[in-house]
């Protein structure tokens, strides 16, 4: 299969979806003429024109709210938030409006809106351009939250998100934009709410979110050299969360480590860890371990940022610590 970048895979999903469905419009800052600050939207405006690819003023609340209204009236808008960190200036339109209209209007209104954005650290982008805030959104009934971990998923999950009739946030990891991987040329959708077992293993389950899947795979390869077989699960979506795949795995391996880029405190790892102890306590040979960022803003300095983001070494260390606990 041909290999393309994560960014190209995302771009291709929109290019093909827009050909399939005339109701899809792309709305955001610099998405049309310039193709987006990361060039994630390159070529869309040239192909689909002013009517369907729209540059907006810097008005995230305004254009996201416009997307909500247009979605309620039958369009399928894809709104782009340049950096995930900017979510604060438009959050009301996401969690009070998009997420709730269906419910609070008694089912009369459907909001098939997609919000795409770029999250994650590792590019020295500083405290306001590097965050991982997925747990905030996963906490809101009505939203779906998607974190592609590979080029294949960047395409397949975006397709599913845009086709979904619920407001869905696709959080791309900007450090992965240049990562290449096999991606089918045709349109395909990866169902939202189905985690991926990226690597089977019998000893420890590592549940990873977004780019941490790649770090977990590196750790697993390293640990395999010493005979430790790690099962790596990619959550793919944190809302809905595929609890079944996670619990089934932990019941087999009896040990679990959850890893994400977001700060550990109150992160999605806390929810996953809690579910495991509630549903699979008797299967555990060790407490569930969480790995995330320390409780601080994302630092700018490359030295500090490297210390901040979980990596394969810390994951491997965590797995070894879990194995040091004697089995039940």
């Amino acid at each position: 299969m041909r290999e393309i970048t994560y960014l190209k895979a995302f771009n291709e999903s929109l290019m093909q979806l827009m050909a399939e469905d005339d109701n899809i419009v792309v709305i955001g800052e610099d998405v049309a003429h310039y193709g987006g600050v990361f060039h994630a939207f390159d070529g869309l405006w040239k192909t689909y024109g002013d009517k369907r690819v729209i540059d907006t003023p810097i008005s995230e609340m305004g254009f996201l709210g416009m997307g909500v209204g247009a979605a309620a009236r039958g369009l399928r808008p894809v709104c782009d938030l340049m950096f995930f960190d900017f979510i604060g200036v438009c959050l009301d339109q996401l969690y009070n409006q998009a997420a709730k209209l269906k419910y609070m209007f008694g089912g009369d209104v459907t909001v098939p809106l997609t919000l795409t954005t770029a999250g994650g650290a590792g590019l020295s982008a500083g405290p306001q351009h590097s965050q991982s805030l997925e747990a905030w959104l996963a906490h809101v009934p009505g939203l779906k939250v998607v974190l592609p971990s590979s080029p294949y998923d960047a395409k397949g999950l975006t397709v599913a998100a845009v086709r979904d009739d619920n407001p869905t946030v696709v959080i791309l990891n900007k450090r992965m934009f240049g990562t290449k991987g096999p991606v089918p040329e045709e349109l395909y959708a990866i169902p939202l709410g189905q985690a991926g077992t990226v690597r089977p293993g019998r000893d420890v389950t590592v549940i990873a979110v977004g780019r941490m899947v790649a770090e977990a795979m590196t750790a697993a390869t390293e640990l395999a050299k010493s005979g430790v077989e790690v099962e790596v699960i990619d959550t793919r979506t944190v809302q809905p969360l595929d609890s079944k795949t996670i619990l089934d795995s932990v019941r087999r391996t009896n040990r679990a480590l959850v890893v994400h880029e977001a700060v550990t405190f109150g992160g999605i790892g806390a929810e996953i860890s809690s579910q495991i102890q509630e549903e699979a306590f008797d299967y555990l040979d060790a407490p569930v371990l969480r790995l995330g960022a320390p409780f601080s803003p994302v630092p700018f300095s490359p030295v500090l940022e490297r210390a901040y983001i979980p990596d394969s070494n810390r994951i491997a260390d965590g797995v070894r610590r879990l194995l040091e606990r004697s089995g039940g």
Binding site: G62, A70, L75, D92, Q97, G106
Partner: protein, 332 residues
């Protein structure tokens, strides 16, 4: 505030338009008076933001709109829903929190909506619905339809970002939106002069390169004529506009009485009530021999019967089943 040209235009209005304005206002007034009594009497859960006093705004604007024109509303939204043609049985049912309500008991007073009549919902977040109207206008243009969108909001909402971002977006995208500000002089309990330095909200339109007009919000005919002009203009593709209607709410920010602080004087309230929109329209209709006092009284008594039946429907409707609590959290 009605200019001479518009006074002249009023005399040229079809009598049916005047009757229509009158009926819409009476229905709003009685819906709100009854809802207020039900809440004060403890028969209804939650709380209410009553629209009494401002009826000319909703009636005047809505009489210019088609069913496919979309409005968005506010926490003080019953008047807009009634004027847009909502079924008051389902409105009362919603206020009672019943399964037959517009929101199936999930929304309550602040979230009445009915897409089938172009009512894209009342909203509990100040300014929250304004961008939705911009989106509805965008969707209409996208599909080549000639419907317009009208977000309603108060003077207080013109201090929030969603208002400014929506005004600018609609202007720069040249969308058919008529922004309607019902300036009742108070942002909850804070008077206008303490929440903005401009005397007129309409002046804010200049910042976005669109026309801003002021109309007497206690005069349904004046509102109708001003709105009709701006709606026709938007429908013709000439872009958005801001209409400020100077009006007044007779009751408190919330509920009927509940005055815990004397933020308004009785003299002020009385002076606005002396200009009551319904009374003044009735006087003009009788004077112009468009209606007799008996005909107008018939509207009140018919509407009272309608409200009584709607309240009975609402109160006697079944509660939602807790087993269905999760319905409509997601579209499946």
């Amino acid at each position: 505030m009605t200019n001479p040209a518009e006074q002249e235009a009023m005399s040229a209005l079809e009598p049916e338009v005047l009757h229509d304005l009158h009926r819409r206002m009476v229905r709003i007034r009685l819906f709100e008076e009854e809802a207020g009594k039900l809440m004060e009497g403890g028969r209804m859960p939650g709380f209410l933001h009553l629209y009494v006093g401002q009826e000319a705004c909703a009636a005047g604007v809505m009489a210019t709109l088609r069913p496919d024109d979309v409005i968005t509303s506010t926490h003080r939204g019953h008047g807009h829903a009634v004027a847009k043609g909502a079924d008051v049985r389902y409105m009362f049912a919603e206020l009672f929190g019943k399964q037959t309500g517009y929101c199936k008991g999930r929304g309550g007073s602040m979230h009445i909506n009915d897409l089938s009549i172009g009512m894209l919902g009342a909203n509990g977040i100040v300014g929250g619905g304004i961008p939705h109207a911009v989106g509805a206008a965008f969707a209409a243009v996208y599909r080549g339809e000639d419907s317009v969108a009208v977000p309603f909001f108060g003077d207080g909402a013109t201090n929030i970002g969603a208002f400014h971002e929506s005004m600018n977006l609609a202007a720069v995208m040249h969308l058919p939106v008529v922004f309607v500000c019902e300036n009742n002089g108070y942002s909850e309990f804070t008077p206008l002069e303490r929440h903005m330095l401009l005397k007129d909200v309409a002046d804010r339109a200049a910042a976005y390169g669109m026309p801003g007009e002021i109309v007497d919000g206690m005069d349904a005919v004046a509102v109708y004529l001003a709105a009709r002009r701006l709606v026709e203009r938007a429908r013709a593709g000439e872009g958005p506009a801001l209409l400020e209607a100077k009006t007044y709410r007779y009751y408190d920010h919330q509920g009927v009485k509940g005055l815990r602080i004397p933020y308004r004087t009785q003299e002020e309230i009385d002076s606005w009530m002396a200009r009551d929109a319904i009374t003044s329209l009735e006087e003009r209709m009788v004077a112009a021999k468009v209606a007799t006092a008996a005909e107008l009284e018939q509207v009140w008594s018919d509407t009272r019967e309608e409200m009584d039946a709607a309240i009975a429907f609402g109160e006697q409707s079944p509660d939602p089943d807790p087993a269905d609590l999760l319905d409509n959290v997601y579209t499946v």
